[in-house]
């Protein structure tokens, strides 16, 4: 068996173990919910018959090991349960809002690349100049400030003060253009940290590549500096950036919660948030499980494609450091 195959297989096994562990954690949390979950869901004035029926439907009367088995079996079959309040399958509720979160995530990543990559290129081609320093400070600032603070400042500046953008979320009846306009502020609030992160990443990997022999040879051949930077060096420097973008998608799926709440957008974050406020634990559990699933699977895909792009990476593992 080749090294790559072995790496791929061990990575997949770990991912499956991690997902099982995460499911176990989420399941055991429900055991500690104060009070009887059925009573919490139905409220204090529910009839004993209704409580009994719900307990049976949720399997609360089973012994714990049977509950665990039931939970795992259901999840593996793609059954996340039925929402007690609306009577709808929870999986459908998640699938209804997921496209909004995914659109938000990709819009944020798009903005981050469109601004972060040029900033990083500028900084790397003008090292240790005033412009480079300013880029560095802006990047740290963007990474450091929490995205919900950014979101609120964006509302203050662009919606209230300048009145350029509507505050509220998605108009489901609105056309494509309307939806796009309403995506700008939330996506920007998420993108800002990643602009800083990508700018720093592109700067450092570009600087590293620009020091290599093949670049010096190209210079000696008299190839123009622009061509060297943007055609040859950037291509090599792009590898770590691509990997980070994959991780970014995973992290943003969970991080989108603030943007969704502040801008009143539908999405998986606001679904979880609403479920927390109504003590609708099965929905909280399922929502978190979906976020974790997407996060872990994107990480796996990133790792695997990374080891394909750059075989050295399979032995180096993680990027470490502070992410937005």
């Amino acid at each position: 068996m080749s090294d790559t195959m072995r790496y791929v297989i061990s990575r997949i096994i770990t991912t499956v173990l991690v997902l099982f562990g995460a499911m176990l954690v989420l399941f055991s949390l429900t055991l500690f919910v104060p009070g009887d979950p059925a009573r919490v869901l139905l409220g204090p004035r529910a009839s004993p018959e209704a409580l009994q029926a719900l307990s049976e439907r949720m399997g609360l009367d089973l012994p714990i090991y049977a509950q665990v088995g039931r939970f795992f079996g259901n999840v593996l079959r793609g059954d996340l349960g039925v929402d007690v309040i609306s009577g709808r399958p929870i999986l459908n509720m998640v699938m209804d809002v997921l496209p909004y979160t995914i659109a938000l995530t990709f819009a944020a990543i798009g903005i981050a690349v469109a601004i972060g990559v040029p900033l990083g290129c500028y900084a790397a081609t003008h090292p240790n100049t005033v412009g480079d320093r300013i880029t560095a400070v802006i990047s740290v600032g963007f990474i450091a400030i929490p995205n919900f603070v950014v979101a609120i400042y964006l509302v203050l500046i662009f919606s209230i003060w300048l009145n350029w953008f509507p505050v509220l979320g998605v108009s489901r009846t609105g056309g494509f253009w309307d939806q796009l306009v309403r995506l700008v502020l939330p996506a920007t609030s998420l993108a800002l940290g990643w602009i800083g992160y990508i700018a720093r990443l592109v700067r450092s990997s570009l600087l590293e590549v620009l020091n290599e022999n093949f670049i010096r040879t190209s210079r000696a051949y008299g190839i123009s500096e622009n061509r060297i930077v943007y055609k040859y060096a950037l291509k090599n420097a792009a590898i770590p950036t691509v990997a980070i973008l994959g991780l970014g998608v995973g992290r943003l799926l969970g991080g989108a919660i603030f943007a969704e709440i502040i801008f009143a957008r539908p999405g998986i974050g606001s679904l979880i948030y609403a479920a927390i406020n109504t003590r609708n634990y099965p929905v909280v559990q399922a929502g978190v499980l979906v976020v974790v699933f997407l996060f872990v699977v994107t990480n796996l895909l990133v790792d695997l494609s990374y080891s394909k792009l750059d075989p050295r990476m399979s032995r180096r593992g993680g990027t470490g450091g502070r992410m937005p």
Binding site: G21, A144, V149, Y153, R251, I276, Y281, R322
Partner: protein, 278 residues
């Protein structure tokens, strides 16, 4: 120590970070001396006031002084960060060293547990736990520290593995030092250095998580003046007064920016090799 501080002061961004950090820490320590009002004193006649001489940053929806509340909020932000990082530091250090010394099978188990914990985006894990178990200051500190343990544990393990077979430890062993002595006298101090840098870089992350949870209403329960709670109040009453949101956001910006700049300068000053990121 002084050399490190001098090096931090020497870099432009490090100096800015240090100044902001000192401001925040002083705010937390001297809150009772500086605050012009009791942070929980309600003055209904004076709601939603803008900045005045009496209320330097205005008042909130109950007429409480925003400046005083933000000052006391510093204590919550720093208290939660320091305690949860301390717990994660110790637990990560012990687990990391243990992982390096245990047989491969048990080491695998510890690493898988780390993987499981980091498979939850930390805010989402905290949200799930608090949503299911109910809010509370100590719960937040504990959950946040759990999410940070893998961070410390992995570095501690890697450092221990690197040290484990080094000649000076070999010599100690030959001279008859007990395993306990090896770990306590040599491994722990040597592994702790890089962990301190990690810890300083985690402070802004924890401040953001605590404020985020409080912003969502599942963090430190009111009337405690957590910055996140203030920001949420400010957002809810944005049509009455913008000052709460503006200043609560500013406090969070100062603290997270300050600690991030400081942490990065500290890392560069102590050990540039730790610089695995751009």
């Amino acid at each position: 120590m002084t050399a490190t501080l001098a090096r931090i002061w020497g870099s432009g961004t490090g100096r800015l970070g240090l100044v902001l950090v000192v401001l925040v820490v002083l705010g937390a320590l001297l809150a009772p001396l500086i605050a012009p009002h009791d942070p929980n004193q309600i003055a209904v006649m004076n709601r939603f006031s803008g900045p005045t001489l009496q209320n330097p940053l205005g008042t909130d929806q109950l007429g409480r002084d925003i400046f005083s509340r933000l000052l006391y909020g510093t204590r919550i932000a720093l208290g939660v960060s320091i305690l949860s990082i301390l717990i994660a530091f110790v637990a990560g250090l012990l687990l990391g060293i243990a992982a390096a010394y245990l047989p491969p099978r048990l080491e695998r188990v510890i690493l898988i547990i780390f993987d499981i914990i980091s498979s939850f985006p930390s805010l989402v894990l905290a949200l799930a736990v608090v949503a299911l178990l109910g809010p509370g200051l100590w719960k937040i500190i504990l959950i946040v520290s759990v999410t940070l343990v893998p961070h410390f544990g992995r570095v501690a393990r890697a450092q221990t593995l690197a040290l484990k077979n080094s000649p000076f430890l070999e010599a100690e062993r030959v001279l008859g030092a007990s395993p306990a002595r090896l770990v306590l006298v040599h491994i722990v101090p040597n592994v702790s250095g890089p962990l301190v840098v990690l810890a300083s870089m985690d402070i802004p992350v924890v401040i953001a998580i605590e404020a985020g949870l409080s912003f969502l209403g599942v963090g430190v329960p009111p009337p405690s003046p957590s910055w996140g709670t203030l920001l949420n109040d400010g957002y809810a009453y944005l049509d009455q007064s913008i000052w709460m949101a503006v200043f609560a956001g500013l406090a969070l910006t100062i603290a997270t920016l300050g600690f991030t700049l400081f942490g990065e300068a500290l890392r560069d000053a102590v050990d540039p090799k730790l610089r695995t990121e751009p």
